[in-house]
Subunit: 114 residues, 2 copies
């Protein structure tokens, strides 16, 4: 019995593709809400978006976002546990703003060049 794939399935695939490919943007947006450390970002993305991040992907990403100047970090010791709390920079905010402009552009009606 042939079963037609529901359109919702394809949209769910888009959702997952987006989360995978624009993980950097997701992380910047989370940190923009409030400063966070890696472990909490993992818990928060699972709780809020149902997306399970692997820490082996997240920690190197946080490092590269710091190198790019989009995040800055400070060490924080809470009850003997060392946390690396990340905060978004003005450059990071600017990047997110540009990114949103780009998304709005994608929502415009496509026109071919004459």
């Amino acid at each position: 019995m042939e079963r037609e794939t529901l359109i919702e399935t394809f949209i769910e695939e888009i959702r997952q593709r987006f989360a995978r490919v624009f993980l950097d943007v997701l992380v910047l947006k989370l940190v923009q809400i409030e400063p966070m450390w890696g472990y909490r970002i993992i818990k928060e993305t699972e709780r809020t978006f149902g997306v399970k991040l692997r820490h082996s992907a997240l920690y190197p990403l946080l490092h590269s976002l710091e190198v790019k100047g989009f995040l800055r970090s400070r060490r924080e010791v809470k009850k003997g546990r060392v946390r690396k709390v990340y905060d978004i920079t003005s450059k990071g905010i600017q990047f997110i703003d540009f990114y949103h402009d780009f998304l709005r552009e994608q929502l415009q009606t496509l026109k071919l060049k004459k």
Copy 2:
């Protein structure tokens, strides 16, 4: 001499990442404007977006979009040359509509679940 990478460079990278990862969406949108065949899609994306598509990526993509029911094709013979003209289906239009809804969602202010 250390040279800080311009924010525009990162935005350009986003643009390219988008074109690479959401090539299916770009193709659907182009075909939505007017029915097209593979070769013309390649020429049109280069002219309009400056994105060079490889035909080895496009043709299998067109096939899979047809299998998914987002496109339908008809053979057209123009001056002895066989063209496979693709047209968007109602399912394809629905997909693009859902995709736009998703983009609008991405533009909303992020809020963490309490």
